[in-house]
């Protein structure tokens, strides 16, 4: 029973990782840039979620607003940070991204205060017994529903719509895609919007599970999401999903059984190193 419970806890954490890592792997696939500032968008989602919920009383409204706002800020980050640097070595864009990420932490602190924000009346607190002896809060169930819904929705878009097919073509060969009439810029903006909106949704859900949004909430995702996309195979969407779920479960078991030797991050990176020794290209090379 404990083993099943730990698996479930791990998959919930993995679902959150997946929502965050998706945007990162999309951006890497399109631009070959490691978008560290993505984690700042995750934090922004958390803040929008708390502020809108506390202001309006509607969590659904907060979730949608957060996804919309964070998606737009994601597009703006492409326009303002990355687009002017596309002709530069990727290292320059990476440094800019890290700079924006660090600055954003202090900006959140200045705007929202150092203590962080909490829900005055946290929604979705009810419990459901999913298996005998294992009950989950509505919030945790929503994390899974949201991750499955959003990610399969995106999968459907990628396979069945013109923009999805164009996006995949752009990842494989931007020059050829452009010469076949694909508007590469549109694809980039759309990818930033979707990836950022998903990170925003993850931010809202994490803020609800912890009932706390802090300026430094993005610190762990900023590097763990990088580990996940490396683990999955850089640029591979499917790989990132598999890696997210695997990492969530490995961490859940690791925290209990080797937690006194390695903390959660060390477990994640030990797992990453072990996998890369066997499969240097990552779990799934390209999805």
């Amino acid at each position: 029973m404990l083993l099943i419970d730990l698996c479930i806890q791990g998959l919930i954490q993995g679902a959150i990782y997946a929502l965050i890592a998706l945007g990162l792997t999309l951006v890497y696939g399109l631009l070959r840039i490691l978008h560290v500032a993505h984690a700042a968008l995750f934090t922004l989602g958390g803040y929008v979620g708390v502020v809108v919920t506390n202001g309006s009383g509607s969590f659904l409204l907060a979730l949608l607003t957060a996804m919309l706002i964070v998606g737009c800020v994601g597009m703006a980050s492409y326009r303002v940070i990355y687009k002017p640097l596309l002709m530069r070595p990727p290292l320059i864009a990476l440094i800019a991204s890290i700079g924006v990420f660090i600055a954003s932490e202090e900006l959140f602190r200045l705007v929202f205060g150092a203590y962080g924000l909490s829900y005055t009346n946290p929604p979705l607190k009810g419990q459901v017994e999913i298996l005998p002896g294992i009950s989950l809060s509505h919030a945790r169930i929503l994390v899974v529903v949201l991750a499955v819904g959003l990610l399969s929705g995106m999968g459907w878009l990628a396979v069945h719509t013109r923009i999805g097919i164009a996006a995949r073509a752009t990842v494989v060969d931007p020059a050829m895609a452009a010469s076949s009439g694909v508007n590469v810029e549109t694809i980039r903006y759309a990818s930033f919007f979707i990836g950022s909106a998903f990170a925003g949704a993850a931010g809202v859900m994490v803020s609800l599970l912890n009932n706390l949004v802090e300026p430094t909430m993005g610190a762990v995702p900023s590097y763990k999401a990088l580990a996940i996309i490396v683990l999955g195979g850089l640029g591979s969407v499917r790989g990132a999903l598999v890696a997210s779920l695997a990492l969530g479960v490995i961490e859940a078991f690791g925290t209990i059984y080797v937690g006194h030797i390695l903390d959660r991050d060390s477990i994640a990176f030990a797992f990453l190193i072990m996998i890369l020794m066997v499969r240097p290209q990552g779990l799934l090379a390209r999805g």
């Binding site: 404990l2 530069r88 990727p90 205060g113 762990v220 195979g233 937690g259 006194h260 240097p280 290209q281």
Partner: protein
Amino acid sequence: MPDAVPFHFMYAHNAPVRFVGGAQHEETEMRHYIKSALSTGMLATGVLAAGVLVAGSMVMSASADTIKIGFNVPLTGFAAADGQSALHGAELGVGQVNAAGGINGEMLELVVYDDQASPKEAAPLAVKMITQDEIVAGVSGSYSGATRAAATIFAESKVPYISAYAIHPDITRAGDYVFRTSFMGEVQGRAGAKLIGEMLGKKRVAMVTLNNDFGKSLATGFKEQAGNFGIEIVAEYEYSIKDREFGPIISKIKADKPDAIYASGYFFTAGPMVSQIRAAGLDQPVVGQEGYDSQKFIEIAGGASEGVLITTSLDRDSSAAETKDFIKGFAAKAGYPADMVAASAHTAILVLADALKKSGSGDKAALRDAVAKTDLTASTGHISFNALGEVQKDVQVQIVKNGNWHHHSVISDAVLLAPPAQ
């Protein structure tokens, strides 16, 4: 483009949008960036330097006849919330001393620096406070890492230094000039064992330990005394300060079925932890420590915080005038209720002010001796120091009731709570 993406972690050479020239071109391009980066850096440094000069001269102009106390505190970075509270507490103390006529007619002045809770910031700031600002003594409103780094410099320079709430054992061991007005982790851990084993009568305990110096030293003290109070530790789990998600640990505790949970942490880890513990249906008593001691803990954990017990320094329901004044003054100044770090910083300032009054002169050795002989009632109770400079005072047990911290009990067992003397 090839189908498989080569693996380059930080620097992807094959960016499809970039390669326009050969190696030569790339090199000149690189140089160009380095140059512009350097000039931007220099410009930024210049601006910063100008800012520091302006700030510095402001301090100078205001400080003709004042006694300066250095105060390093994290005002940015991850510890900024505690830093802000500590600063309010210290400023309140300085304000109270000055309003009551200062130190034999001279006013106190707080020289404040942001150390970001980082040793590499705190060390140079300590040097600056001692050599340039010419402070008579220093107070740390910061965490252990930064405080240890600064304490060494204060001790070597023979300038008195008080750690307000940093708990690492090595801080006071830096030298004779370093004191601490808060409990060491071990001492509070022992008090926790007495609280659970004797006062609550719970014998099977699961420990959740924060794996930094704070949590580890609490766990050491708790385990040292657990046997004496008949406690059986059924399991101990560790987590890092970055963790906010405790699902797996809580699932395992559920299976362990303990009578009580002894969990170390700060309000920003303990808040999510306690709310997740209760959300998972566990109803055992949760016992924490001074790291929980903030109204923000109650705000984060919400209804789940009801009944949580902590060992700490500040008694919200104290009838002592010093504590009542502090609690009232703090809420008026800061706009939110007082917490442990604020009370500790406030106490440290009052200890220094008291010693300054008694030592009279500007002599730092005399001031150090006066601090060592402290016998003062402050906002966190009656303060005196042992030979190592560790505080000797009672442990307050507080409980959350109706959304506020309240008095539960006091542990005043001098033998159990004796800090190490060397």
